[in-house]
């Protein structure tokens, strides 16, 4: 022990320290900010029993469950993940269908996204994001020889996505739908799907999105609210205008941890979807930049780990690692873009930080799998056999 300590040559890390620390910092900072953002509504709300730590305690419990899930997920080799991925995808699909069964799913604010599990609620769409990564990667690896073929390579996946999409839009959970489509498309693209086909697909998807937005008044309203929140600042633009005010109040260094005014019943969903606005108000521009930088680091490490796996001829782990990078990157970008008024408001949390049990557990498991890919890479590079 003593000798190891004194040794000038440090043992090579078992897993990527940058990735691990970035994720841990975001998780801990998220817990602090969830507490700060929720303390007023928790103390003022009747459903929380006026307990100021109501959300903090729950978030901490979810983090523990997430940690357990992460440790468990890390134990499984990627080979095993690949083997069970179709089944996970089917299970996720079944859960999404269960949510819609009358009497089973639970409504909150007009959206049916949760399955009550006694003490807590399960949000299958959060799990489905992880399953989509695992399944799309497996699918792509299997279809690798036919990547140029529209019928063989693309249509089955498109069919699966349409099925999942129908269920998600029924809830509705437009945010999860966008993220899952982004994951599937991204992995197909990385897997070498023909570029021309891809371009056509993007155009088609854009047209489909546009049509959906035009047809559904609910989504159209959200679009208009985001374009100019000040024209109807106390109606459709209420939430976004308060998020923007929070950013404006934060300036460079913020009003100080705990000193947000927006969280005092003005900004709805301050501890979930609009957590970044509270970070922006309390910790300022530098707080926001730090959060963005940490997410950028995680995305960069995910792609680097993926590339490393490619060089090791490990296609499935490579696609899984990059798929997780796409997932966390895209979801973080959409959530932050919504907070800043760059994107229309939709129900997406900030990964690793926002309050929400299923999301936190799924994020932790995903990070564990990413670390497992890295660990396996390192093992292989040391010449060890898996």
């Amino acid at each position: 022990m003593l000798r190891t300590w004194e040794s000038p040559v440090r043992a090579p890390a078992e897993v990527d320290p940058m990735l691990l620390w970035s994720a841990l910092i975001l998780l801990v900072a998220g817990m602090v900010m969830v507490y700060s953002a929720s303390i007023a509504i928790a103390e003022g709300g009747r459903f929380t029993g006026h307990q100021p730590t109501y959300f903090l305690v729950r978030h901490a419990v979810f983090l523990c469950i997430g940690l357990v899930a992460a440790i468990a997920a890390f134990q499984l080799p990627l080979k095993t993940w690949q083997e069970i991925s179709p089944w996970l995808f089917v299970a996720g699909f079944a859960l999404l269908a269960l949510v819609l069964v009358p009497g089973l799913g639970r409504d909150v604010n007009g959206a049916r996204r949760w399955l009550p599990l006694g003490v807590a609620n399960l949000q299958p769409s959060e799990l489905m994001k992880l399953f989509a990564v695992l399944y799309a990667a497996d699918y792509t690896v299997r279809k690798m020889p036919h990547m140029g073929d529209l019928k063989k390579a693309f249509l089955p996946m498109a069919g699966a996505m349409v099925a999942v999409g129908v269920l998600l839009l029924k809830e509705p959970d437009f945010g999860a739908f966008v993220v899952i489509i982004a994951i599937a498309m991204g992995i197909l693209f990385l897997g070498g799907m023909r570029a021309r086909l891809f371009a056509i697909l993007i155009v088609l998807l854009l047209v489909a999105f546009a049509a959906m937005i035009i047809v559904s008044p609910y989504r159209r309203d959200r679009i208009f609210g985001f374009m100019d929140p000040w024209s109807d600042a106390f109606g459709r633009g209420y939430q976004l205008s308060h998020a923007l005010i929070a950013f404006g109040r934060g300036e460079f260094f913020g009003v100080g941890l705990g000193a947000s005014v927006e969280k005092l019943f003005y900004l709805p969903e301050a501890h979930t979807d609009f957590l970044l606005a509270v970070i922006a108000e309390e910790l300022g521009f530098f707080g926001v930049v730090a959060v963005i930088a940490l997410f950028a680091l995680i995305v960069q490490r995910a792609f680097a780990i993926g590339q490393q796996a490619v060089t090791l001829d490990r296609l499935y782990p490579a696609l899984v690692a990059q798929g997780i990078g796409i997932w966390l990157g895209v979801q973080a970008f959409i959530n932050m873009g919504v907070n800043m008024g760059l994107l229309p408001t939709k129900g997406l949390t900030l990964p690793l930080m926002s309050f929400g049990g299923s999301g936190i557990v799924a994020n932790c498991a995903a990070l564990a799998i990413l670390l497992r890919v890295d660990w396996e890479n390192r093992q292989l590079m040391r010449g060890a056999k898996l």
Partner: protein
């Protein structure tokens, strides 16, 4: 390392693999995401650094509020510091109906504490106004209980409620304020600018439930109003008020007024009226109770004006103290009108005209004076002018221009008819007799003697002679034996005036007495007026003089004025005075 290098070399040479997972795609996707993050940083910089003024302004308009910090109104005290009016903090309960979503249980509790009907409360809270008062000026203890309920959308602020410890006794003098704290009557109105506090302000941030989160910016402290110390002496005021009230009850009179003035300084030591009211409870007030009759109501003073006519004739040298005036047969016809004495007299000296209060004598002396001379004198002693005490509704009284006087008018004015004055004007005019001919302004606030400069109306010699005549009026052979004060020499004059009703003199009277003491060096002037005594007696010497006597005596003793006569009171049958 060697292993890694070899592996890398091997894979790099594999064209199949390069085709399968093109590295540029991976780099492109990663770059796209990083670029999107960079865009977020740009947007964040725009919102937080470049455009934050606009956003903060929007935020301020939503939760920054300027609050008023109420300032207390100045206290009003008497000359000895006894409190006549004081503001005590009370709480007013308000609601923002849109935020005030109360459970049935909470509504019940609130209604009970506010002592209102729950239905009435529910009706108020259903209002579509953005701000309403639920109850104004409740005791702080009740307000604390309401605050402890922590009801959403319900708040409170401090207001001050005015208390008048001396109540109805000083009601007309002190006046009162409205619910907004502004003076409406009396000293409260007269000294509004000094008494009024200037509220401060603070800027706060409130959460959406209306609770104050923090102060922002600087706090402007409230400036409390100045305290006002009046010349009024509570003890004398009490005497004056209670004696007046007693006399009015005994004589079943309609109304009355009394004023006590310090002849040396012009200070108003007491001023009371009846009927009066309780300023602490003004729910059932009529205009009659509110009227500060001593300054707002003019009346024909009657014989109390005779000394002015006589003094002018003495001053002008038309008569001397002992000039004989033939008052027989107690009647005098001027033009078509006849004036008369209530008891016919024969020849009277000028002094006796005052002592016996002969109308005929006064009219004959007035005939020696030019109308302009009389008008100028009345004007100089303040009749027909606003007394300028600062009270609301001060009247000038009626003094017609001398050019339009008919001879009969000049004759009746000599004994106080055809002219009207307020009680305070009359009391002030008597300062010329108390101060060797000088008329001084009156003051509601404390005043050192000799500060207020007056105007010399009569010569000291004239005034000494008139004062001697006024002393005769309260001695045996005079009209006002009951005005005597044990231990002091008194000089004064009765008045008993018919009331004018619809242009005709009716059998209703205003009895009055104005006098001063000690006569050797007058310190106080007391003027008493009793309106429509209806218990039989109606002469000023019978109705008003006793009030004068008791108030003057007690006031002089209170002030410690040295006696200038024996304590024995001269007796004798008071002769009935003329009108």
């Amino acid at each position: 390392m060697r292993l890694k290098g070899r592996l890398a070399h091997r894979f790099a040479e594999s064209p199949v693999l390069l085709l399968r997972l093109p590295a540029w795609r991976s780099r492109m996707v990663a770059l796209l995401i990083i670029a999107a993050f960079a865009a977020l940083i740009g947007r964040s910089f725009y919102l937080q650094v470049l455009n934050n003024d606009f956003l903060q302004e929007k935020g301020d308009s939503r939760y920054r509020r300027d609050l008023e910090i109420s300032a207390s109104r100045g206290r009003i005290s008497d000359r000895n510091g006894d409190i006549l009016a004081v503001s005590t903090p009370m709480k007013s309960i308000w609601a923002i109906p849109a935020d005030a979503r109360l459970s049935p249980e909470q509504s019940q509790q609130l209604a009970r504490l506010l002592e209102t009907d729950p239905k009435e409360l529910a009706r108020k809270l259903a209002s579509d106004k953005s701000f309403i008062f639920l109850h104004r000026q409740i005791p702080p203890e009740t307000a604390e209980k309401i605050a402890a309920l922590k009801l959403p959308g319900i708040g409170q602020n401090t207001e001050y409620r005015r208390y008048y410890p001396t109540g109805e006794m000083t009601a007309h003098m002190v006046g009162f304020t409205g619910i907004d704290g502004k003076g409406l009557e009396g000293v409260e109105l007269a000294f509004q600018n000094q008494l009024l506090g200037h509220p401060g302000s603070r800027s706060v941030i409130k959460d959406r439930r209306g609770q104050i989160v923090e102060d922002v910016g600087s706090i402007r402290p409230p400036q409390d109003g100045e305290d006002i110390r009046l010349a009024l002496d509570s003890k004398i005021q009490y005497l004056a008020y209670s004696q007046l009230k007693q006399a009015i009850e005994q004589n079943r009179a309609k109304a009355g007024g009394i004023a006590v003035i310090d002849a040396r300084s012009g200070e108003v030591l007491a001023l009371a009226n009846w009927p009066t009211y309780n300023p602490n409870n003004r729910e059932s007030l009529s205009g009659g109770q509110l009227r500060n009759r001593a300054v707002t109501d003019a009346f024909e003073p009657g014989s109390t004006l005779k000394p002015f006519t006589i003094a002018l004739a003495l001053e002008k040298g038309r008569v001397r103290f002992d000039t004989q005036i033939d008052c027989a047969p107690g009647k005098l016809t001027i033009g078509t009108a006849t004036i008369s004495d209530s008891h016919p007299h024969g020849p009277l000296t000028v002094a006796q005209v005052i002592q016996k209060s002969s109308n005929v004598g006064a009219a004959k002396i007035a005939a020696m004076l030019a109308p302009q001379e009389m008008w100028d004198m009345f004007d100089e002693v303040g009749f027909g002018q606003v007394p300028e005490l600062g009270f609301p509704g001060e009247v000038t009284g009626r003094l017609r221009p001398w050019k339009r006087w008919r001879p009969i008018e000049q004759a009746t004015m000599s004994y106080g008819h055809g002219i009207s004055v307020s009680l305070i004007q009359l009391a002030r005019a008597y300062t010329v007799f108390a101060r060797d001919g000088e008329l001084i302004p009156l003051s509601l606030t404390r005043q050192e003697p000799g500060v207020l400069k007056g105007t010399q109306v009569f010569s000291p010699q004239t005034v000494r002679e008139v004062r001697a005549m006024l002393e005769m009026a309260v001695l045996p052979g005079g009209t006002a034996l009951k005005a005597q004060v044990p231990g002091y020499r008194v000089a004064g004059k009765t008045g008993t005036a018919h009331k004018l009703e619809g242009g005709v003199y009716a059998d209703r009277y205003v009895a009055s007495f104005v006098g001063m003491a000690p006569a050797t060096e007058p310190r106080l002037i007391v003027a008493v007026m009793i309106d429509e005594p209806s218990a039989g007696k109606y002469y000023g010497g019978e109705v008003a003089a006793p009030v004068f006597s008791s108030v003057m005596g007690a006031a002089l003793r209170t002030l410690g004025v040295p006696a200038d006569a024996s304590v024995r009171v001269a007796t004798g049958d008071a002769e009935k005075e003329s009108l």
